[in-house]
Structures are given as C-alpha cells and as structure tokens.
Amino acid sequence: MTTNALRRNGSKGQAGDKIFSGAALGAGILILATLLAVAIFLFIQALPTFTADPTLVSGGEGFLAYIFPIVIGTVIAAAIALLIATPVGIAVALFISHYAPRRLAAGLGYVIDLLAAIPSVIYGAWGYLVLAPALVPSFQWLSENLGFIPLFEGPASQTGKTILTAGIVLAVMVLPIITSLSREIFLQTPKLHEEAALALGATRWEMITMSVLPFARPGIISAVMLGLGRALGETMAVALVLSTGGLIPSLIKSGNQTIAAEIALNFPEAFGLRLAELIAAGLVLFVITLVVNLIARAIIARHKEFSGAN
C-alpha cells in the first residue's frame, strides 16, 4: 500500500482549525439572523398601520403624515449633535494623540472614556436641570438678533427645552465615542508617514493634514457613524430635555419630536393600532440607520484605491 506522506492525518491542529472556523461562521450567521429577526418582527407588528384607515391613525391623515415630522425632528437633533461633536471630537482626539504632553494625554483619555460610561438618564437630567435654563438667555439673544433666519425665529422658549438643547445634550453624549475612536486611529498613523511629512519641512499641523488625517479618514467616518447611531437612537435624554410639539423650523422654540423619544413616551399606554404605529416608527428608525450606514460604507469604498491598503 502506498501512502502519501504529505497527506494530512487528523492531527489536533486540524481539529482546532475546524472548530474555530465553525465558531466564526456561527457568530457571523447569528448576527445576520438577529438583524433579520428584528426586521421581520418590526415589519409584522407594524403592518396594521399601513393597512388601517388613514383617519384612524394618530393625526387622522395616515401614517406618512404622522411619521414625517418626527423623522425630520430625529434628523435635526442628530445633525445638530454631529455638527457640534465631530469637529470638537476630532480636535480633542488630535490634542490627546499629537499635542498634549504624554502624562496629560493619558489622563485626558481616561476622562473622555469615562464620559461614555455615564448613563443617558444622567445626561437627560443634566440637560433638563442645568443646560436648558442656562441656554435661555442665549436663545433670547438669538431670537432678537438672528430672528430673521427661520432657524432662530422667536419668541424663544422660556424653559430652554428645545430641539437645540436636545441636540447639544446629544453632542455631549456622542463626543466620547467620536473622540476615543479617532484617538485610537490617530495613534496608529504609521511613524513612517509622519516622518515623511516632517522631513519635507512640514509643521506639526501640516504633518497632521498630510499624513494623520488622510490615514484616519475611514476611521473618522466610522466613528461619526457610531456617534450618529447613538444620536438617532437616544431616547431618555431627548425625552427629558425636549418639550415636544409639532414640526417647526425654529430650533429655539418648544416643538419637534424624535422617533425614539416618541416611542418611549407613548409606549406604556399604547395598545392596538397605536402600538402598531409606534412599532412602525421604530421600523422607520431602523431603516434610517441602515441607509446612513450604507452611505458611510459607500464613502469609504470610493477612496479605496488611495487608502494605502494596496
């Protein structure tokens, strides 16, 4: 009998390999199955809303008329949060990774990470008790001086519980996510590329724009997307801070609502069609998040050739 000495014969290493690849495959499938299950659950439970008589849906004009204002409210709150948190987060991360003395950088890093661990109800309470009243004078000023812009149309809220306040609270909540992730990526910039820039006579800032930021770009986008995920889905802080109402363009008057807060505030008393409505709102939020992530992927993929991975 001839045996091929090169043929594998059931060694231990092989078994380990099989177990690991099986486990990895299982984990991958589990994620997809969970996502699918969530989507199916939301769709089935929401179905009555789409088939119901439009006059019976909250507002009396059908589901689209009901959901449209709160979708816009959600997007406005998240957009405000990201507009504030992205530049600040990147700046703080750059300071920690490239400017601060090493000892200060480590301490600052811990503090930022700690911010992410604070429960959202605390942020909500802070926004409600401290930030909102403190913002009232600024809102007053905005309405008096920039009132001609629809975004700052008066009369300003006397409690400060507006969508702008909610957006600022969300920005503070999102900040640690963007900062910690960006910092990790900035620190991974190859020394080689930083030295290439410096050796050409680049200042520290030029070195950052030439080698650190381009290298970190996909990572920054991912960080912002994670932050956006939290801003879109945040419930407690918005529910506490925002004094809700119909869709209005002004950011400094009471009004607007977000999907997550709408669901949380109404869920305990909802039944029948109302429950289906809220779940349908959840489905819409799910779709928004999915679309946003797909767009982010597309942005990253478009620059693949220049990513340095080839």
């Binding site: 290439a196 410096l198 050796a199 050409l200 006579g201 200042t203 030439m210 381009p214 340095g308």
Partner: protein, 259 residues
C-alpha cells in the same frame, strides 16, 4: 545650491542615554559621504541629527554644533521646520503618502507652509523632479494614480523626487536601498552619482560595496559594546578607508573580520 556641513563636538542623547559621543566631521558641498559601521553604532542616529529629525523621537536632544555653511542648526530661535526644508531626508523604507497621487507626492513638500504654485509651474516641476529621480519614463502616463501602487524601488525614487522637488541644500539618506532588490539598488546608486552634481549627499549604508561604489569620503562609526555610546572612528577618502585605513578597527570591519 548645496552647502557644506561642519559638525563640532556633537553628543547625541536619548533622555539621559548618550547614544553618540563627540563627533567632529566636515562634509564637503557637492560630494557623497557614506557612513558605515555595525548595527547600533549610532550612524543613523547621527544622520538624523543633521536635520533635527532625531527630535521627533521623545527625549532626543544634542549638545554641540551642526553648521550648515556656518549657520548653527541648533541655535535657539532656529525652527526645525526651516532646517528640514533645507536638508531633506530619504528613509530606509519607501514612504510615499498613500492617499496622494504620484504627482501630489512630488508636490507635497513644495506646497507646504502656505506656498502657492501655478499649474504650469507645478507640471514642469513634477516632470523635472521625476526626471531627476530617473522615474519620469516609468510613471509619466499615470501621474494621477496612487504612489503606493508602484514597486518598492519606484516608490523609493518617488521619495527622492519628492525630496529634490523642494530644492534642498543637502539630502540625507538612511539606508535607502536596504529594502530594495539589486536592480532597484543599482538604479538608486546611479541616481546618487547624478545627484552629487547639484546636492550634498550623505548616505548611511550597511553595504560596504555600496559605500565604496557611491561615496567620495567614508566615515566609520563603531561602539565599544552594548550600552556604550557610538563614536566616529575614522573619516577619510573612501579609497583610503577601504585600502589603507589608519585604524585597526576600520580595517577589521571593511575586510569583513567583524560586523
């Protein structure tokens, strides 16, 4: 365009550790000077002090003077950014900016410090620099493609093009061929010979044949043992170093008896 470098009583430290001790050397303008020596002897560290790149490593500092045509690089008030724009550097591993096209890589240093350059000037500078680096014919049809798509040898020549585009006085090369195959190495060595007509070139190399082939003068560095500072042992015409060195350690090293 090219200046001489005089180093006087230079000690290089990393925090409290003395890495290179008491170097005195005069490097002529428009010449190629090679630094050779065993690993860890401080030749790369010393090279980096010539354009203040060693300061990038935390704790890196020097005592002594490095004079570029008489101007001390380490005088207070001298900005390392200015120093590095006059004394360029090519590294051991090719490091083109991966997110930039070939063209943008060449112009990277030129556009620094808020300098503007017209499109036609930019195009002619790109061509001139790439020709100067013997790379033009290979890349002229794909200037907008990423620099990271080139072969290792081409990337290294792109880095040289990027360095000469800023018109430095001196070009420092830190083992520029150690990551390259023999043919790319030959291309770089030919290039070094051409660069000599315009620039002062200082090259660190592990390869003694390379030092013998490309350099006019050679400096031999050595250390007495681990943890001891590196020292400049002998500095002379390359032919003298390789055929008739004055110091026994140099002879042992170039004849392959150690290192």
């Amino acid at each position: 365009m090219s200046k001489r470098i005089d180093v006087k009583d230079l000690n290089v430290y990393y925090s409290k550790f003395l890495a290179v001790e008491d170097v005195n050397i005069e490097i002529e303008a428009k010449s190629v000077t090679a630094f050779i020596g065993p690993s860890g002897c401080g030749k790369s560290t010393f090279l980096r002090t010539l354009n203040r790149m060693h300061e990038v490593i935390p704790g890196g500092r020097v005592e002594g003077e490095v004079l570029l045509d008489g101007d001390n690089l380490y005088e207070s008030g001298v900005d390392p950014v200015t120093v590095r724009s006059q004394i360029g550097m090519v590294f051991q591993r090719p490091n083109p900016f991966p997110t930039m096209s070939i063209k943008d890589n060449v112009l990277a240093g030129v556009k620094l410090n808020g300098k503007k350059i017209s499109r036609s000037d930019a195009d002619s500078l790109v061509e001139k620099s790439l020709r100067g680096a013997n790379l033009w014919n290979e890349v002229k049809d794909r200037l907008d493609k990423p620099g990271s798509g080139l072969s290792g040898g081409q990337q290294q020549r792109l880095c040289i093009a990027r360095t000469i585009a800023v018109k430095p006085q001196v070009i420092l090369m830190d083992e520029p061929c150690s990551a390259l195959d023999p043919i790319s190495t030959l291309a770089i060595e030919d290039l070094i010979n051409e660069l000599k007509s315009e620039f002062t070139v200082v090259i660190v190399t592990h390869n003694m044949q390379q030092a013998a082939r490309v350099s006019d003068k050679t400096a031999f560095f050595n250390i007495a043992g681990t943890g001891k500072p590196g020292k400049l042992i002998e500095y002379a015409e390359t032919a003298t170093i390789f055929s008739n060195p004055a110091v026994k350690a140099t002879e042992d090293y170039v004849s392959g008896r150690f290192g």
